[in-house]
């Protein structure tokens, strides 16, 4: 089994209940999982299974209703909004299905964005380095609406890398891309994981994409249904 010491993410029995008027809707009903340093894990499940909610909690965009979430050994489930913002800035990189880049802004400026909020120096230089890591240095000064979907997703990956996060959370990263481009994007994730040892959590409902991970966590109705290890 996985030991606590090496776990980047450790979740113990977390629940999430949404309140709609007087009705309480439980979305997560007690999920426990651990993700080790350097792992690439996929979270799968049909819509309504709670995987988006789990992703939001893992990404520190939301807090669980109960349970404990430790990120890098730090309990984050009780932190304030601003403290969570700081954790997102320094420890988490997001890659979204719809890219979520700023429009009318150059690619490199998008990549720099997290540095703006961490008060870092050498922003431009570091942003260009991150773009080189995803093979997109030549598109740095193009506006985000002038480049293809695959290139936009690579800009988003470069942005997620820039603060050397503990973990990258990718929410359906290939959902808006064709098969060939999807493979290119997944190749980048594979390389980042294998060569640089970056921890990656993939949230997807596509089996082909999930197969890039070494472990698949199947979620159904707010509970972990089963775990699947891929011996690769």
């Amino acid at each position: 089994m996985i030991t606590t010491r090496t776990a980047v993410i450790q979740v113990e029995n977390i629940t999430k209940v949404y309140r709609m008027g007087n009705i309480e809707v439980p979305v997560l009903k007690g999920v426990s999982l651990a993700i080790r340093q350097g792992e690439m894990v996929a979270i799968m499940g049909p819509s309504g299974s709670g995987k988006s909610t789990l992703m939001n909690i893992l990404g520190c965009l939301d807090r669980p209703t109960s349970g404990v979430y430790r990120l890098d050994g730090m309990e984050v489930n009780r932190l304030s909004d601003d403290q969570l913002a700081e954790i997102r800035n320094r420890k988490i990189g997001f890659v979204f299905q719809s890219f979520n880049l700023l429009p009318r802004t150059t690619a490199v400026a998008n990549v720099e964005l997290p540095l703006l909020y961490s008060g870092s120096k050498d922003k431009r230089k570091r942003a260009l380095e991150a773009m080189a890591r995803v093979g997109l240095a030549h598109r740095a000064h193009h506006h985000t609406n002038e480049i293809s979907g695959g290139e936009q997703q690579r800009v988003a990956i470069a942005r997620s890398l820039i603060n050397n996060p503990s973990i990258i959370i990718a929410d359906e990263p290939t959902g808006n891309l064709d098969t060939r481009t999807s493979e290119e994007i997944m190749a980048i994730f594979d390389e980042l994981n294998r060569k640089e040892g970056i921890t990656i959590v993939l949230v997807t409902h596509e089996t082909d994409i999930a197969r890039h991970a070494r472990r698949i966590i199947h979620l159904r109705d707010g509970l972990i249904q089963r775990e699947e290890g891929l011996g690769r």
Binding site: D62, D81, E86, N89, F94, N100, L116, Y117, R159
Partner: protein
């Protein structure tokens, strides 16, 4: 996030929608322009009045005859012919605060010099006149006591009158004619520099003027139209006015209502200052309303902008923007809008007041307008304040957005 980056970000966001930003700025430009324009016009008018009054002197007292009351019909102030040369002499003798007493008769009339002529005020004066009313002689001599005693036909011209009658210069020694009598010009006065009001006159000896006017009372005393009294210091005005009134009541055997009035420029200045201040406040508040409307425009546009950029706010929050980062971003935008409106508004207000000063006078004489540093500081800080005040609500709405909902917003 450091301020330079925040400023750059605000400028980038604002220039990405130039038309909208400039229309919003226009609201503030009009508001600030109106405030600056109207306030500087007000300040200019006040300055003009104050200068004119001070060019005559704030330590002056004017004694004028009262009104005639004939069969129940009351005529205008000054219509009675009750003041005499002897009254002036009595004031000089019996009021200790007095430095100079200058009785005067005056009437309007045509003045001719060669081919030039003008219609101006002719003042019959004594030598004290020049001291009392702060006139300095630029060339030649003033009216002397011997001129008065001898009823000489000599004249001293105001600077504007000199320019009119002797455009080629050198008036002293020339002759002019008043009421078909020839007068020799013995002196020319220096300009008072108050826009010409005190510079268009012809001064002749009081006795000569009184002869022209046939101005004798029934008892044979020389009638005067007013008595200008100069006191040593403006602080003595109240005491001197009271003393003058006592002397005149005694001499005129007044029972009941005085047949003269005693006023000072001091009173006049106070009244004018009050009027112009009320006017400035009134105009300023009208301009302030347009500034308020401009501020509401900023708030409106910022609210629209926040709604349009919910997704952007979500992205920024997801990558680590804190509440205060988002708050600062939108506040910077609204303050940049209002401050640039403020700076442009100062320029517009300046042009407006320049325009006013060149249109204001048909005689080609301009009313100066005054844009003082404190008006500018006031305008800039009010503009910045408006940006903050009307920007805080949209900005805090943006800052409070939930990142998950903001990211999902279409």
């Amino acid at each position: 996030m450091n301020p330079v980056e925040a400023l750059k970000m605000a400028l980038r966001a604002l220039t990405s929608n130039k038309l909208r930003s400039s229309l919003t700025v226009l609201g503030i430009v009009i508001g600030v322009g109106a405030v600056i324009g109207l306030m500087s016009i007000g300040a200019g008018i006040q300055k003009t009045i104050t200068e004119q009054v001070q060019s005559v002197g704030t330590n002056l007292i004017f004694v004028r005859p009262g009104a005639v009351n004939q069969q129940g019909v009351r005529s205008a102030q000054g219509s009675a012919a009750t003041l005499t040369l002897q009254d002036a002499q009595a004031i000089a003798a019996r009021v200790p605060e007095v430095v100079a007493v200058a009785p005067q008769v005056s009437f309007g009339g045509p003045v001719v010099a060669g081919s030039q002529n003008t219609f101006t005020q002719i003042n019959g004066v004594t030598p004290e006149y020049f001291e009392a009313l702060n006139y300095a002689v630029a060339d030649g001599d003033a009216i002397s006591q011997s001129n008065v005693d001898a009823r000489s036909r000599v004249a001293v011209l105001g600077s504007l009158t000199t320019q009119t009658l002797f455009p080629d210069g050198d008036a002293v020694g020339q002759s002019i004619s008043l009421s078909r009598m020839r007068f020799r010009v013995i002196g020319v006065l220096e300009s008072k520099g108050s826009g010409g009001t005190g510079d268009d006159l012809v001064a002749v000896p009081l006795t000569t003027a009184s002869q022209l006017q046939r101005g004798l009372t029934a008892s044979g005393q020389t009638r005067v139209q007013n008595i200008n009294v100069k006191v040593g210091d403006a602080s003595q005005i109240a005491a001197a006015k009271e003393a003058i009134a006592v002397v005149l009541r005694d001499r005129h055997n007044v029972i009941g209502e005085d047949d003269f009035t005693v006023t000072s420029l001091d009173d006049l200045l106070k009244a004018f200052t009050q009027v112009t201040q009320i006017m400035s406040i009134f105009l300023g508040s009208i301009a302030g309303i347009s500034l308020l409307v401009g501020g509401i425009g900023i708030m409106n546009i910022m609210l629209v902008s926040v709604t349009e950029r919910i997704r952007e706010i979500g992205i920024r929050k997801a990558v680590g923007a804190k509440r205060r980062d988002i708050l600062a971003q939108f506040l910077f935008e609204s303050v940049v809008l209002s401050l640039s409106g403020g700076v442009l508004g100062i320029a517009v207000g300046w042009l407006m007041s320049k325009g006013f000063s060149s249109f204001s006078s048909p005689t080609g004489q301009t009313t100066p307008v005054l844009i003082t540093p404190d008006i500018i500081i006031l305008a800039v800080s009010v503009a910045a304040g408006i940006g903050l005040f009307f920007g805080i609500y949209p900005a805090s709405r943006a800052a409070k957005l939930d990142p998950i909902q903001a990211l999902r917003y279409e």
